[in-house]
Symmetry: C2
Subunit: 333 residues, 2 copies
DNA sequence: CCTTCTCGTGAGAGCGCTCCCACGTCTATC
DNA sequence: GATAGACGTGGGAGCGCTCTCACGAGAAGG
């Protein structure tokens, strides 16, 4: 990077071998004798040689990059504004540990999304992880480049790593019901988000099963949305004894709203979230939530890509687990 | 990516021009007549041609990648576990909008950090943004590759974009003092973190200025640490009327700890944080905090790199601003 | 009408590496 | 002792692109 870096040519010359032999030693491929090996290694050390990854990629056709595509349809759901993406990042990085592959981040905005997708699909990489990309864009991407894995429920053909959102939402309501709560409202995410759709379905299934009334409100997956929704819900149904917020950020807002009306959490109104993100531990009281194994899912998607085997329609499912804290009653210690 | 993609050669052949002319049109460089221009463009469209960025980078020597290096010295401060990094990401992505440059993320662990640094320094990129990299590693990186910008206070020679941590911490205490609080404790970050060191210095400066006693405790920049620190502080100094937590996550823990002792926030103990991250809006009551302009700083660092002008010792300073919410008293609406 | 300048165009040399293939040399086999 | 096989080694083509340079045609000037 500074001045002109030594090339493999320089190494070969210094070691008195051919470029081919130097390459073999550097990639520790078989077919080089011990004496030459050490001479090359010495030359590498002496020159401080580091292979040029760009040239390597071009010559070998092997790729060293995985793309992480984050959809940015809404400012509040952008990668910087939502804790979700940090976890995706961590999971992907974990799977990449030790493998010489780099993670590249892309944020695709609503406008111009299709063009961006096409350009990225054409780019030569190991593959792409789709975080919160809508099904239509996902299938477009898939048909253009094949090597993609979605982290959210998506078009049937697109390979995906999915959480059991429906079961998870059902379990959340079941937990509340088991605690004796009977007026259980839900705050839902945006309709364009497939996870939000599934969680809503789970809530409705539970409500039907337990013979409760469906008390729903939109909250847009944001803290502000959750706050406003809880306030509206409480005004219209003052007898609510529990709220299921389909993401933690909304649950945090809900707790604040409930408290602001003079009610106590969990004594008067129990609150359960979904995700188990930062937000869950920052609330007061700490939030009972359904843990989405985001890191594990992102890691699985990464490994799938690395292995090269992403068959059309592939589905890998992850269970969602209850994490009891204090917002639904004393947490078991 | 799927099958063999068309190359510029194919485009040139189809358009009946040379590779050089095709390249000119594709990069819309001057020196191509209108008739040929449109013929090439048509060929591009017909073949669905997309340039191979790897080949481009190799041939031109121009780079299309910026590295974001996140140090991972401690599990609780890892990119996935701390809200800070999401904001860095957002800032960098914002600055990259419209520029055809990709962001690459690296997490460097304590062990093997030096080697990773060397390898990355050798890699051909536009440059690197150092988030929370220790001064010694930063200067090593800098001496190896030159094109780096640190986001935290660092070695003198290394270019950096810095927040006014000292002044910010001072202002936080000043705010508390202005509210009539006199027993103001602080919960500090880890000693290896340069931001933590500066914030501590700011606290001490304020304490001296206002003639208060220095009541400090470590909290490791984590929620758990903040919780434990507040509890310890309250036990040893039951008369505390304010806590300055040098990051929001610790402040969130502190609020929970204070509440658990039966005290009220802000009536009995006022709490002020630092950062203005997710955590600040999730606490109950919402957290008064010092806003660190992380997004702006990351964007500035990115632009510096893009412009190519990172002079040794460069310093770009950012002010830290008070964001009054409810944890220090009724927020001015 | 010849020179000079301009400008569009294509040939071709790389960028730094990988990898196939041909060429020894050395040992095993009949 | 001739032949086959194994193995280490280097030559060189080529990955897909950019970019310099030389060339030829047309416009401008004396």
């Amino acid at each position: 990077m500074i001045g002109s870096r030594p090339t493999i040519e320089d190494v070969a010359r210094l070691a008195g071998v051919s470029r081919a032999t130097a390459s073999r030693v550097i990639n520790n491929a078989p077919g080089a004798s011990e004496p030459l090996r050490s001479r090359v290694q010495q030359a590498v050390a002496q020159l401080g040689y580091q292979p040029n990854e760009t040239a390597r990629a071009l010559a070998s056709g092997r790729q060293r990059t995985i793309d992480l595509i984050a959809a940015d349809y809404h400012p509040d759901l952008s990668p910087g504004a939502h804790p979700y993406y940090s976890r995706v990042l961590t999971g992907a990085m974990t799977a990449l540990e030790g493998v010489n592959v780099q993670l590249r981040i892309h944020v695709v905005a609503r406008k111009g999304a299709a063009e961006r997708i096409d350009a990225m699909a054409a780019d030569t990489t190991v593959g792409a992880i789709l975080a919160n990309v809508t099904p239509d864009l996902a299938s477009r991407f898939y048909s253009r480049c094949r090597k993609v894995v979605s982290l959210v429920p998506t078009a049937a053909s697109v390979p995906a790593v999915e959480a059991e959102n429906i079961n998870g939402a059902y379990a959340a309501v079941e937990h509340l019901h088991g605690l004796g709560r009977r007026r259980i409202a839900a705050i839902h995410g945006p309709g364009f988000n497939t996870c939000a759709i599934d969680r809503r379905a789970g809530y409705q299934k539970a409500v039907n099963t337990f013979g409760l009334s469906d008390i729903s409100h939109g909250g847009g997956f944001t803290r502000e949305g959750g706050y406003a929704a809880a306030l509206a819900l409480l005004t219209e149904h003052p007898d609510l004894d529990a709220i299921f917020a389909t993401c933690d950020l909304m649950a945090a807002g809900a707790i604040q709203a409930i408290t602001s009306t003079g009610r106590r959490v969990p004594e008067d109104v129990a609150v359960i979230g979904f995700d188990d993100s930062f937000a869950a531990i920052c609330t007061n009281p700490p939030l009972t939530t359904m843990r989405l194994p985001t890191e594990e899912m992102a890691a699985a998607a990464t490994r799938l890509l690395l292995a090269g085997g992403v068959a059309s329609g592939l589905r890998q499912r992850f269970a969602v687990q209850l994490v009891p804290r204090e917002s639904t009653g004393r947490a078991p210690k």
